[in-house]
């Protein structure tokens, strides 16, 4: 299969640096079959058929976009594809994992849609708006979520005691999505973060840069030493790389190449410490474009998004379709040596190998998309999942690395949800993803081990206004890290009798729980057990 499609690097010289486009030398053998029983109707034909290039990553959340186009050439080459059947024949895909390069192509008019993630969107949209000279970058869609594949991998003991990561050196692409996973985890565990790559801080989590997830895995596997100045002693020291933050196939490369880590004189198994399986709503795929172009081609955009929604609906509902067609398409489009359809199918769902979970993606149907942007709860976009991941990560990056994000566009100005709102006739046959916790058990391992102090007036269980900031922090953590469970404990002082105090401590825990539940406008999973 792979042999039939040989990639050519930028054959006409009109593509962003490093991008790859594939030749459609033959039709794909897996044709689109009749859509099974579903409530997603095919889009109507459109006569708006511009030349369009969509930038994607080597990321399976974009499976629906790939399926809608139908192959590595132009959509018109694949008569069975949704876009071709809807009259759109000039749309093609380019795999370019560096969104900054996609943005340059967007500004130059060579690309019409750009891929990023919700947590990374603020920095990318700020960059795009600089080049577009105005708040023109508009988010129109989300094709899925990273669901386990973006991760921090390190010594297994960190899973039980995150504090052991103090003084560790993590290799990753700074300051992008996998860096965000690590920084979220460290910050939520109240571990200091050293954002300065030029010094080593023994009390903090430290970073060494890689230009992408593959280079991060390579630097980790080679067990390279890193020369850094110790912040405490001022001495130049050599440190080994202790952990890697990467995504598929970087996680597979890491575990295949270096299955044990010697950390602070103890040799331990390499383990996935935290990932987007636990932070299951922090990393949605985000598709954005130039508002000027979008408004000139509204019919096209509407048709494109309906096709993607239809593909994603089918991928979610029909595993055989994923296995026989979509995984094959992904292997052709991603074009990574030795990574065929079986690889992409296996790691779409995620697999546990040698005790380490690897991969994991989700795709969005229309219900998921509406849920992500908060269209069902009628709340301002700032309170949606997208708003929370956008704002939380923008503020954190601004605090840690102000030179990388001096100003960001308000979240309400970066979305154009009109296309999603117009899809009122679309219904999804599968429900919005919701974390399931078996009764009486807890999630394996520790994600966050931190104490948040919420104080009450003596004898009272009423939430004080002064405590709202910390409660909001916990709520946002629970929304981003939907697949985690927390324990709320209430305490009292020693005054009064034990029964009253016991009741008061329960009431206080209940107040906190009630506040969290009522303030969650996303309806994710703040449920009690």
């Amino acid at each position: 299969m792979l042999d039939r499609f040989k990639g050519t690097v930028n054959p006409t010289g009109d593509l962003p640096v490093g991008s790859v486009v594939l030749d459609p030398r033959e039709k794909l053998p897996t044709e689109v079959k009749d859509f099974p029983a579903s409530q997603v109707k095919p889009p109507e034909r459109t006569s708006d058929n511009p030349e369009v290039t969509i930038g994607i990553w080597t990321w399976q959340t974009t499976s629906g976009i790939i399926d809608a186009v139908g192959g590595p050439g132009k959509s018109g080459d694949y008569s069975g594809s949704c876009l071709c059947q809807a009259g759109i024949t000039n749309t093609r895909l380019i795999v370019q994992n560096d969104t900054s390069e996609q943005i340059k192509a967007l500004a130059a008019g060579q690309m019409q849609f750009v891929t990023t993630t919700g947590d990374q969107a603020a920095v990318d949209i700020a960059g795009a708006n600089k080049l577009l000279r105005g708040n023109k970058a508009k988010v129109v869609w989300s094709s899925g979520y990273s669901f386990g594949e973006d991760c921090l991998m390190g010594p297994a003991s960190w899973k039980e005691d995150p504090q052991k990561a103090r003084g560790a050196l993590v290799v990753t692409a700074v300051p992008y999505c996998d860096w965000n996973v690590t920084v979220d985890w460290a910050a939520d565990n109240q571990i200091p973060i050293n954002p300065d790559e030029t010094v080593y801080d023994p009390a903090a989590v430290n970073f060494v840069n890689a230009t992408d997830h593959i280079e991060a895995a390579q630097k980790f596997v080679k067990n390279t030493k890193v020369s850094l100045k110790n912040r405490q002693t001022g001495q130049q020291e050599e440190h080994q790389i202790d952990a890697v933050a990467t995504w598929t196939p970087g996680d597979v490369m890491a575990v295949e190449g270096r299955s044990t880590v010697t950390y602070k004189n103890a040799t331990e198994k390499l383990q996935k410490i935290v990932s987007t399986k636990e932070y299951s709503y922090m990393m949605p795929h985000i598709l954005f474009g130039n508002a000027d172009w979008i408004n000139q081609h509204r019919d096209y955009v509407q048709t494109l998004l309906r096709c993607i929604a239809r593909s994603n609906e089918r991928i979610k509902a029909d595993d055989e379709y994923l296995k026989t067609r979509v995984a094959t398409l992904n292997s052709v489009i991603f074009n990574l040596d030795g990574r065929g359809p079986n690889f992409w199918y296996k790691y779409f769902h995620g697999a546990t190998e040698n005790g380490v979970s690897l991969g994991g993606s989700r795709v969005n149907n229309i219900a998921d998309v509406r849920h992500l942007f908060g269209l069902e709860s009628n709340q301002p976009i700032e309170r949606s999942i997208f708003g929370i991941t956008y704002l939380d990560h923008a503020k954190r990056l601004q605090k840690l690395m102000p030179q990388r994000l001096e100003a960001f566009t308000p979240v309400a100005q970066v979305v154009d949800l009109s296309f999603i709102k117009e899809m009122t006739d679309e219904r999804s046959s599968t429900p919005v993803y919701q974390a399931q916790f078996p009764t009486g058990t807890t999630n394996p391992g520790t994600v966050v081990k931190a104490n948040y102090q919420i104080t009450f007036d003596s004898g009272s269980a009423k939430i004080k206004p002064s405590e709202l900031a910390v409660l909001q922090e916990i709520r946002n953590l629970l929304i981003r890290a939907s697949d985690t469970q927390i324990t709320i404990e209430g305490h009292t002082d020693n005054t009064g009798d034990d029964n009253t105090n016991l009741r008061l401590s329960r009431d206080r825990a209940q107040s906190v729980w009630q506040w969290l539940k009522e303030s969650d406008t996303t309806g994710i999973n703040i449920n009690s057990q």
Binding site: S100, A107, A108, R133, T198, T211, Q403, R404
Partner: protein
């Protein structure tokens, strides 16, 4: 006026200086009027340089990169001179040819080798730059040596010079001035490599590291600011090489003028 457009037209210092100003203004006008709005304007670039200077340790980054450039240049010069001059000895010629061929391979292609041998940081940066520059410097230096007329060698032998005496008199001494030109060219190649080398090794910062960081967030005003600084340093380096050549090999510049 007519002389301005004549082949080898003779113009005075004043006219030449005005031409420099004229071309500089022309470049700025094209820059400002460019329809590509994605390009930062000159005032944005100047502002970006000021911001990097005032807030983000630009001076330190310049010093880090300049030090790397100079050290890499010294190491690669010594190594390349050695390999280039040895090319006249048949036993070492294949080695020389192999090193020349390696210039076709991007230095980043050897990443995994460097990761195995060096710690990320100063040592790896110097090793990568020295290696990368040497591939080119050996090539240009060998080209200078190849041009030496064989007759000079024969003449020296007839005069009864020993092998090493011939080597020094015929091969080394007459080619040294042109080696300065080759090194000056190579310094420019080094600047091209520095961006990717400092991106791969960001632990000390540096201009290359900054170009990568600002390009990744599409802060192109800062990218162009860094490039402008590199341009200024390159002009100064060219001037220094010119001074060195005039100081140590004054006869060569007289010959060129002649």
């Amino acid at each position: 006026m007519k002389k301005l457009f004549q082949v080898y037209g003779e113009i005075g210092f004043f006219v030449r200086a005005n031409l420099v100003v004229l071309w500089t203004v022309a470049v700025f006008v094209v820059w400002v009027l460019s329809p590509n709005k994605a390009l930062p304007y000159p005032q944005e670039v100047v502002q970006a340089i000021y911001e990097m200077w005032a807030k983000y340790r630009l001076l330190s980054d310049i010093a880090v990169t300049l030090k790397l450039n100079v050290v890499g240049l010294i190491y690669s010069t010594v190594i390349s001179l050695f390999i280039a001059y040895l090319s006249v000895i048949p036993f070492f010629e294949p080695l020389n040819r192999f090193v020349q061929w390696l210039r076709y391979i991007p230095i980043i292609g050897f990443n995994l080798v460097f990761l195995t041998l060096f710690a990320i940081g100063w040592s790896m940066k110097v090793a990568m730059l020295t290696t990368g520059m040497s591939f080119f410097l050996v090539t240009s230096m060998t080209a200078v040596i190849v041009e030496i007329p064989r007759m000079k060698y024969e003449l020296a032998k007839v005069l009864g010079y020993s092998d090493w005496h011939v080597f020094y008199t015929v091969v080394v001494r007459p080619t040294l001035p042109r080696m300065i030109d080759a090194i000056a060219q190579n310094a420019a190649i080094g600047w091209v490599m520095i961006t990717s080398i400092e991106t791969f090794n960001r632990t000390e910062g540096g201009l290359g590291s900054q170009i990568y960081a600002h390009s990744a967030t599409n802060n192109l005003a800062r990218v162009y600011g860094c490039l402008l600084i590199i341009g200024v340093i390159a002009v100064v380096e060219d001037w220094i090489f010119g001074v060195l050549k005039r100081t140590f090999f004054p006869y060569s510049t007289i010959a060129e003028r002649g």
